[in-house]
């Protein structure tokens, strides 16, 4: 139903410094597309969580930023991929407070609440790809749905 307008950028996620660059890039891309300040902040925060997951749990990977449109509305899609160990129990990983490291365990579930579309593809042993999309001007998802 929506068409990708091509990959806009591909950023490596290999170190803490790359996380800074990911945040800045996503913020600029979102601002260019016309996201409001709150939506920009949400998307950047989601990107920060997911990029850190890619780095910490996936052992590094990359982010693909693409511009998408659907029904005349434009959006930003971020695809984080790594070739790490994968997520053995997705249901549990998405639940709040569960962590395999020493974090708060809010990253994955929290990121899902910050964006409009969220999908995870994970094959244990061969890597994880998380794709999120946010649309300009669309109200946030109601909480029950999450």
């Amino acid at each position: 139903m929506h068409t990708a307008a091509g990959v806009e950028a591909c950023l490596p996620i290999r170190s803490d410094m790359d996380l800074v660059w990911v945040r800045q890039h996503v913020r600029q891309a979102a601002a260019r597309l016309g996201f409001g300040l709150v939506d920009q902040t949400k998307l950047v925060t989601a990107a920060s969580e997911l990029a850190r997951n890619t780095l910490v749990h996936g052992g590094g990977g990359q982010l693909e930023v693409s511009l998408v449109t659907a029904d005349g509305v434009s959006g930003l899609r971020l695809a984080f991929s790594d070739s790490g160990p994968g997520i053995p129990d997705l249901e549990r990983a998405l639940s709040d407070g569960y962590t395999s490291g020493d974090g708060l365990g809010m990253g994955l579930g929290g990121a899902r609440r910050l964006v409009h579309d969220f999908e995870v593809e994970s094959v244990p042993g061969s890597g994880t790809t998380v794709r999120v999309t946010s649309w300009v001007g669309r109200p946030p998802r109601p909480r029950e749905e999450v």
Partner: protein, 299 residues
Amino acid sequence: MPEHEAGGTLGTSTLEVRDFLRRRREQIAQRWADEPLFRTVFTVSRDEAVEAGKAVVDALAQVADSQRVEDPDAAGFTGVREQLARMGAARSRAGLSATQMSSELAALWPPVENLLVADLDQAPPEELRECSTTLSVLMGTLRLVAMQTALSEGQALIDRQRLQLLEVATPVIKLWDGIVAVPLIGTLDSARSQVVMETLLNAVVDQHARFAILDITGVPTVDSLVAQHLMKTVAAARLMGAECVVSGIRPAIAQTIVHLGLDLGTVKTRASLADALGYCLHELGANIVNATPDGAGRR
């Protein structure tokens, strides 16, 4: 052409190049001194530029002597590496990109080539061509060495600046007797937050602070890791008998924290630093009174 013969010609041409470099050392250095690379680095005296140029020519002659014109690790370059690094650093401080620097280095070739052509105009064209090729290979290697050193110099600069940032960006400010504040700016990665926690806890001890304000106005993104660092700092300060207030929470950050599902319920928060200071003063029992023009207090 059989291989041993090729090797042989290269051998003679490198030696010829070596002799040419030694013979024309002065002229080459003089011409280089007027090229942008030397002219802009050695601004104070032209003699200094000429001396630097001579050092580079000597290094090239030495490399040619060792027959290793294609090897950037040749021993001959060791002596000028530091000088090249200084020149590279000066150019990058002046805002030159790597591409610009590379073309400035390439500009050193034509003057040398002209001298070589003038020098060998009696020699057979074959010989001139071989010497010219050898010399251009040697200049290419010099360019490589200079770029290598410049880039590693850039990396060292970045590392130094990172360390500086860790130190600089975490001042602890005494706002009132018993109240200290830390304005946090930029990214709170693990190293930075460790420094913040340490400086804050030290300040709590030194200043006998009962209140510590962490102002996050300058933190662009508050994600779960940043929140975790904040909560740890607050908990540590509490153990030392100081109450922490987190201030500077902007509307967009507040909404994001809620959606992210972070529970900052255990942390005292205020929208602005002024609100936080007001709260702390109130808790300390201090009264803030607006003065009327004649100096008398009014509530």
